[in-house]
Symmetry: C2
Subunit: 341 residues, 2 copies
Amino acid sequence: MITMRKILAVDAGGTTTRAVVLDLSGNALGYGRAGSGNPTASGIDDAAAAIQAAAARALGAERPTDPSSSALVALAGAQSIRFRDLLAEHLAPYGFTGTVTLESDLAGTFFSGTHRQHGYALIAGTGAVAARISHGSLEHVSGGIGWLLGDTGSGFWIGHHVARAVIAALDGQGPNTALSGLLLEQLAIERSAERERGRPRNLEQTMNALYALRPVELARFAPLAFQAAGDVVAQEILASAASALAGLLEAVHDPDTGGPVVLGGSVAAAGLRAAPEIFVPPLTAAAHGAPLISVADGMVGAAVMALRQVGTAVDAELFSRLRNDIAQLAHQYMQHERHLP
Amino acid sequence: MITMRKILAVDAGGTTTRAVVLDLSGNALGYGRAGSGNPTASGIDDAAAAIQAAAARALGAERPTDPSSSALVALAGAQSIRFRDLLAEHLAPYGFTGTVTLESDLAGTFFSGTHRQHGYALIAGTGAVAARISHGSLEHVSGGIGWLLGDTGSGFWIGHHVARAVIAALDGQGPNTALSGLLLEQLAIERSAERERGRPRNLEQTMNALYALRPVELARFAPLAFQAAGDVVAQEILASAASALAGLLEAVHDPDTGGPVVLGGSVAAAGLRAAPEIFVPPLTAAAHGAPLISVADGMVGAAVMALRQVGTAVDAELFSRLRNDIAQLAHQYMQHERHLP
C-alpha cells in the first residue's frame, strides 16, 4: 500500500479562514473556506472548528494516509500551546496526525508576496502591525498594540476618527463633512435640523447608535473615509492614517535588511486601490526603494511555510506556480460557493 | 410655633458630593460632603444615598419644619424624573419635603463664578463640555460627548494620549518622552531594556496593565502630562488639549452674548495653575475679551440657583458673601473631617 503524505496550510483570519491541501512537490490539491479561525476573536473552540471545517472542505472525500501529514496555521495574536493541541485534536480525524505548527499572520502575509527570505510585512486591517523578516523568520515586530493604546492608521483608527469627525460636525465643534451623510445613512438615521434640549436631534441619535456598539466595531466605518476621499476631513483622516502606517514600517526598518515590502489587510488594499495618491507616497518612502507588493490574504504564505517546513524548497518558480494555482482553486471554490443553497 | 423654612443646595459630582443648608436670606448654615452623587457614575441608589448623606451632614441635628423647604441639586448628565423622585424620597425624612429640582453642572459651575445672568461655562474634568448661559439658563451646549466619541482635551483624552505616547515610545514608533518613566512608576513596573518574543518586556507589561483598566480610567494619567510639562511630547498633548478646549468655547460663542467665562473641572484647574503658558492664551482668545474665572466646584452656583428659585435676589454683594461663607464652612468641615477616626 502506497502511503499518501499531504500537507495542510491554513490562513486563519478574524473574518474568514482559508485552507489549502498540498502534496510534497507543492501541487495545490484542494481549497476550502470557513468563518473566523482566530481564537482571540471567536474563542478557541469556534476557531478550531472553523479551521477544521475549512480543512475538510479543502480535502473533499480524500484523506492523507501517511501519519506524518502535517499542518501549518498562520494567524494573528499570541500562539498558545493550548490552541495548538486543540487544533491537533480537530485535524487528526481528517488524517493530519503529524506536527501542527502555528505561525504569525505577519509571516503568512510576507510569504504570500515573495519567495525571498528577507524583507518587511505590514498588515493594516482592523489593527496595524509590521515586522522585519530576516532569514525567513520575524526578527522585529512593531505595532499590534490594540485599538485603545495603538493601531494608529488601522481600520479601527480610521472608523473611530470618521465617527468622531461626524459627531464634532453635528455638535458644531468641527467642520462640516461629507462623512456625516454617509454615516447617518449607514446608521439609518434620517437627517434633521431639529434640536432637542439645546442639542441637534441627529447628534443624540448618532451618539446613541455609536455607543451601542462595542468600541472595536467602529472599524466598520473605515470604508466611508475611502468613499468620501474627495472630502477635506476624510482626506485628513486618510493622510494621518497613511503617515502612521509609514511610521510603523519605519519602526521595523533596518538599513542592512533589504527585500520587498509586502502589504496586507483591508486598509492597505483600500488605500492602494481607492486613495493611491494618499497612501503610495509615504509607504514608498518608508520602503526605502524596495518594491511594494500587495496581497489579498496570507494563504499563499501559509502554503510556502508549510512546504518549507517539510523540506520542500520554494524558489521563484514554485512560488509563482503556487500563487497561480491557489488563486485558481480559490476562484473555483467561490464560483461553486455562490451556487450553494 | 414658628416654622423654619430652609433651602438645600447640592453639588453632586462624580467623585465628591457637597451640600449646603441656607436660610431664605442667603445665610449659609451648614456644609457637608459625601462620595459620588452622580447617578451615571454610581447608579441611582448610591448617588441618592450620597446626596442624602451630604445633606444630613450639612444639617447636623436641626431639621427644617416648614414643609415647603426645597432642594436643588446640580449634576452632570441627563436629568431623569426617576432620579428626582428617588431623591425626594431620600430628602423628605430630613425635612426637605418641598420641590426637588435638578440642574446642570454647567449652570452650577457658571453661577459659582458670577452673579451675572449671561456668559459662558466650560467644564474640563474627566470629560469636556461647554455652554452659553443667557437670561440665567443654558441656551446652547457643546461637548459632553463621552470618552469614545468626543471630549477632546478632557482628562480622559489627556490620559489616553499619555498612555498612547508611552506605548509608542516603548514600541519604537514614537519619540522618547519623560512620560514613560512617570507612567511606569505609577504602574509599579520596573524599567528594563530586556526583550521577549521580539518586543521590549516593558511594552508588554505596560499594555497588560493598561488593558486591565476600564478605558475611562486612563483619565488618571492626565496629571502626568502636567508633571512632565517641560517634555516635548507632554507639551504637544497639553497644547492640543488647550486648543480643543478653546474650540469648545468657540462652539458656544455668540457675539451678542457678553459676560464672564467660568472654568471648572480638574483639567482647567491644572491647566491654569501648572501650565498657564499653554492654557491661558487660547482660552483668553476664545473668551473674546471677557474675563476668565476659575472655580473649584459647583457648590456656590447650586446655592445661588437654590436661592433664586425661592425668590431671593442674588446680587454682587450677596454673591460675594455666599462665596466667602461657603468657603469658610467648607474649610471648617475639612479641618474637622481630617480629625475623624
